[in-house]
Symmetry: C2
Subunit: 342 residues, 2 copies
């Protein structure tokens, strides 16, 4: 009997789920048909992205959040995206450590995904793993990424609710808070809040959020924080009920402050539903996904239609500056048309 089947995934069989995610990671030829048959069952889970540097204790926070959801009898899946370990060793070890703490609970599933190949590839694999877990009925999917790299911001953007984790000290220096992070956060958590400087980090974050809220841009220029007024470009956004980004304090290792985070995550989901933003985010996510899939397929087909050596000859001309990139595109597309007419 086959290890994977649509029925097994839909019923939450963990071995089948784990195997299908491995298929997805390896671009196994059978992965696509399973994803197709699972697709109608997706769109139910609350996708929560959690990002922050490794020093923030983000992984402990994710574990405690998972436990809190289990206490509410909600099923939880964790996807830990780890671009720092370009091989499976670290990811597997991480899973083992976590498994020990949360082991044996059928309502929890944990998976690390390491960026082995291309970054675009990782995004697609994570998106597909989310679909598998969503179809398998996990109510909350926690997607954990390190905030530093290139595509993790993209990955975390696909979540409904994004939590950015900071620690005291890191946030004291306004410039140390990365510009892009403010734009993606729905909730800030200052973890290790028993450390000195926690209040200062909280108030710095609140100040930056207020600056952002007042329709201004905060510009870091030559080490100075400057703010510039801007007229709102979309009047609709003014009328929409706004989400005030909260700054919460936790001590994950002592399991303190966890429940308020869970409550706030739930409150954010309510906000998304009531404001219509949930539908917007899902739609945007699917359009992005469609575009990426179309681009891959178009490129695949093009490469299959080109005469042999045409591409490498074009690249040689490019390198020799005998052909500009734009002219090369036109030449390649023309060559395909000639080829397909034959």
């Amino acid at each position: 009997m086959s290890l994977i089947s649509t029925e097994k995934i839909l019923s939450g069989n963990k071995r089948a789920i784990a195997r299908l995610i491995t298929y997805v990671e390896n671009n196994h030829p059978h992965a696509q048909s399973f994803l197709d048959s699972l697709y109608p069952h997706t769109g139910q889970a609350h996708l929560v992205g959690i990002t922050g540097s490794p020093v923030t204790g983000k992984s402990s926070l994710v574990n405690k959040l998972a436990k809190a959801y289990r206490d509410q009898d909600k099923s939880v899946a964790i996807i830990a995206v780890d671009p720092t370990s370009p091989f499976s060793g670290g990811a597997i070890l991480g899973d083992r450590i976590r498994m020990r703490e949360l082991a044996g609970d059928p309502g929890i599933f944990i998976r690390s995904m390491a960026s082995r190949g291309s970054l675009g590839g990782l995004s697609k694999a994570v998106d597909d793993a989310i679909k598998v877990l969503d179809a398998a009925g996990f109510e909350v999917i926690l997607i954990e990424t390190v905030g530093a790299g290139q595509s993790e911001v993209e990955i975390v953007k696909t979540a409904h609710t994004v939590i950015v984790v900071e620690v005291p000290g890191l946030g004291d220096d306004v410039q140390a808070i990365k510009a892009g992070i403010l734009e993606i956060a729905d909730i800030f958590v200052v973890n290790k809040a028993d450390r000195p400087g926690a209040e200062k980090t909280v108030s710095t974050l609140r100040t930056m959020l207020e600056l952002g809220h007042a329709s201004t841009h905060h510009v870091l220029h030559h080490g100075q924080l400057m703010t510039v007024e801007e007229t709102p470009s979309h009047p609709d956004e003014e009328n929409k009920k706004m989400w005030e980004i909260p700054v919460l304090k936790t001590m994950a290792l002592k399991e303190e402050g966890i429940d308020p985070v869970v409550t706030t995550i739930d409150r954010h989901l309510d906000y998304l539903k009531n404001s219509g933003e949930l539908m917007d985010r899902n739609r945007t996510r699917l359009i992005d996904e469609l575009e990426t899939a179309l681009q891959l397929e178009l490129m695949d087909r093009l490469l299959g239609q080109l005469p042999p050596n045409h591409l490498s000859e074009t690249i040689t001309k490019l390198v020799d500056r005998n052909l500009s990139p734009y002219a090369a595109v036109q030449a390649i597309l023309k060559s395909r048309e000639v080829g397909s007419r034959e």
Copy 2:
């Protein structure tokens, strides 16, 4: 008489250069033909990427490097990519501040580019601006980015030589050094080296580089630095003469330590030429550029061939989970074929 002409750009006319870069940023319909005619004149400049957070004093360092090149009678262009200011105000102000220090010198050109539209768009605009400045005869092009965001790592990757700027304190905590940064750096500079902790930052960086050099991967796991041996996958890379990534100290504001950085940048260019890596990097850069241009053109053509409403109807089916993304791709491509047969 036209403000822009190929001849004016090739002769280094600053007003023509500035105008053409604005055309490139705005996707002006005339930009492409100028880029095509300039392309045969590109490929001469040394492209130097400089990345680091705003606290590192990276902009001062870039200014002093530019002055040092001018002292050697080399012409220099600076492109400051500023993703923190999504409007031109901050970028223009930054240019003005810099202009005052380096004003009136015909051998220098300074331009800020802000990420207004899509990030992919910024990459393309920067790539095209580099081509304009390269054709205009600037011998060194300094591309300055903030290290934090999504596409800046991509932008800086297109450079021949990548300098990562750190400051004392930031680097003390091994985990604070972003994983991706180690992979892109050709030269590390610890600026503000008169601050306490400079030596520790230098030695931390050197330790991390040695770990990397010994064919190991440094893995940050649960706040611990772990190293794992790995067999080299490409035996060729073992034989190739390696570049030992230097860690240099500067005090840019006091103009100390600048000349050794310039010498090291020159030495890196020699290494690139002698090892054959310069050709490899140029080739990779052009292949990436061709791929992006092909994808854009394929997508443009596809959208032009689709029956009206087909795309929006497909997206509705996707959102309603009546069609999977993969099936949607097949349906769209089939619809094009039907459309083009008519």
